[in-house]
């Protein structure tokens, strides 16, 4: 059995115009230390899947297991980073990073020291006492990353964390994420095929709604990768697979 298992996960919602099936029979096995990127069209249930792994939502059928234990509630061992940094506006950068440690009952001095170290690793040592509104978008996302990493989570869940950043910053943070998450199990959601093949050990493509695993592609080479002709070819291949999905879903 793999470290993180999704077994027959289904998710149904009750909407105004009837029942919506967001996920249907999703089966996915992720090994310890693997960096898996989820790709798929908008509304295919990528974020819902991530929230089920986080414990924020319960599957309507099937379920997720971490280390053979069923996931039934939220826990700091499965920290999540969202598209927006979602920093607590009333806390400074260092207090934001120390938030999870505070919830876990660490003494004030120790959690401050750990949070300062985590910020320093993100090259944010000079920004510890700034409030979120005083930080740029990239700095805020790095604080959010530090806030999740300081908890040393077994699994890191990232829901399009770089979507709102410009191309240059995005590329820099992709490298930073890979460097900081080495050896950690990561489930990463993105819309960008290029981002997926730069970062992932495996790219999992979900079908349009209801989402289920349609393709599972192992990417060769050590991430973060520079674009080679082979990777550009892979990018085009994934793009045509997703276009085919779209055409077949429309027909």
């Amino acid at each position: 059995m793999s470290y993180l298992e999704l077994i027959g996960v289904c998710k149904r919602y009750h909407a105004v115009d009837g029942e919506v099936v967001a996920l249907h029979d999703v089966n996915l096995s992720i090994e310890r230390g693997e960096f898996v990127v989820l790709l798929g069209h908008s509304g295919c249930g990528k974020s819902t899947l991530l929230q089920i792994v986080a414990g924020l939502e319960l599957a309507s059928a099937g379920g997720a297991q971490l280390d053979s234990r069923p996931i039934t509630h939220c826990s700091a061992e499965r920290a999540m980073i969202f598209q927006d940094p979602n920093l607590f506006p009333w806390l400074t950068a260092v207090e934001n990073v120390a938030f999870g440690l505070r919830m876990a009952g660490y003494p004030p001095g120790e959690r401050r020291r750990m949070a300062q170290q985590a910020l320093a690793r993100m090259s944010l040592g000079a920004a510890t006492s700034l409030y979120p509104h005083e930080l740029s978008g990239g700095m805020q996302q790095r604080v959010a990353l530090a806030r999740a990493l300081v908890l040393d989570p077994a699994v890191l869940l990232m829901d399009e964390p770089l979507a709102s950043l410009d191309a240059l910053l995005r590329s820099r943070l992709q490298h930073e994420i890979r460097a900081r998450c080495a050896g950690r199990t990561v489930l990463f959601v993105t819309h960008s095929i290029r981002e997926a093949i730069v970062l992932a050990d495996r790219v999992v493509i979900l079908s349009p709604r209801p989402g289920h695993v349609q393709h599972d592609i192992v990417v060769e080479g050590t991430p973060p990768r520079s674009l080679t002709p082979a990777l550009v070819h892979l990018e085009q291949e994934i793009e045509s697979l997703m276009l085919q999905q779209e055409v077949s879903s429309l027909s």
């Binding site: 700091a76 499965r78 969202f82 927006d84 979602n86 938030f99 999870g100 409030y131 509104h133 005083e134």
Partner: protein
């Protein structure tokens, strides 16, 4: 030419001085103009001075009441009732509002009751207040309590529903329990709204004080005004009104200061800043 240029320069400097003092200056000018019109209308008997005594007459009566200690005594008595009634209402209404905001099932259960009780004006509670609490401070405090409680519940309920749910999700995935997320996410998120609630609620409490002091009490600004009305001492009625207005102004300024200190993390361009007239740089 140089004279013209120096005149232009002087005008430009004057304009900037004008811009700087205008917000404060115009406020006092407006009040002074209002007082003068009031004085003239009364002195020229355009309105019966018995119904609208002159401004200077009200001022001198206010001075007399202050010197005799009557005004301070009545103000203290009212302030005590307002603070007690409002504090009890806030202590109970805020947790109730938060619970209603977090649990839709409780909101469904309570919404009809709240909708029925909220529109009742404070004087409507006077008979029940006397029946339940007799006479004295207790029924007056009760009327201030019911006059503010329902508005506070509705305000806190709306503010709780508006808390950014993403922040709660972040806290939960950081290992926070439900109770910890209430204490460390929902309450800090609500702080600016709660301070606004206190500002509005205290204003409402002072509005209730007249109704509250219609119940057999012997001291208080409301009592002073009701007694003055019965004796046709219009000056005293207006002195009471001005006193309540000034107390409201002072508490509001104080709470704005408290908000600035406690919510210094709030930033960004407020809508008013987008609508302000921009001065060209000299």
């Amino acid at each position: 030419m140089s004279t013209l240029r120096s005149m232009m320069g002087a005008w430009s400097r004057l304009r900037h001085i004008h811009v700087r003092w205008r917000p404060w200056g115009s406020r006092w000018v407006l009040l002074l103009a209002l007082a003068m019109v009031w004085e003239l209308v009364s002195r020229l008997a355009l309105v019966d001075p018995l119904l609208l005594p002159p401004f200077t007459g009200v001022l001198s009566r206010g001075w007399e009441l202050s010197l005799s200690g009557r005004l301070a005594g009545d103000l203290l008595a009212s302030a005590w009732r307002v603070l007690l009634g409002f504090a009890l209402a806030a202590l109970l209404a805020n947790p109730v509002g938060i619970a209603l905001g977090l649990y839709p099932a409780i909101e469904d259960l309570m919404s009809t009751l709240l909708s029925v009780l909220r529109p009742l004006s404070p004087p409507a509670w006077i008979p029940l207040a006397i029946l339940w609490f007799g006479i004295g401070d207790a029924p007056a405090v009760f009327i201030i309590f019911v006059g503010t409680f329902f508005s506070l519940v509705i305000g806190t309920l709306a503010a709780t529903k508006a808390v950014d749910s993403q922040l709660i999700k972040v806290a939960l995935t950081m290992g926070a329990s439900r109770w910890q997320s209430v204490c460390h996410v929902i309450l800090p998120s609500l702080l600016p709204a709660l301070i606004t609630q206190v500002r509005l609620g205290l204003g409402l409490a002072w509005m209730c004080v007249i109704a509250a002091e219609m119940v057999a009490v012997r001291r208080g600004i409301g009592f002073l005004m009701i007694e003055a009305r019965n004796l046709f001492r219009t000056e005293d009625v207006i002195v009471g009104m001005i006193t309540i207005g000034l107390v409201g102004l002072c508490t509001d300024r104080l709470l704005i200061g408290v908000e600035r200190v406690l919510c210094r993390w709030r930033a960004g361009l407020a809508p008013s800043q987008l609508y302000v007239r921009r001065e060209r740089s000299p």
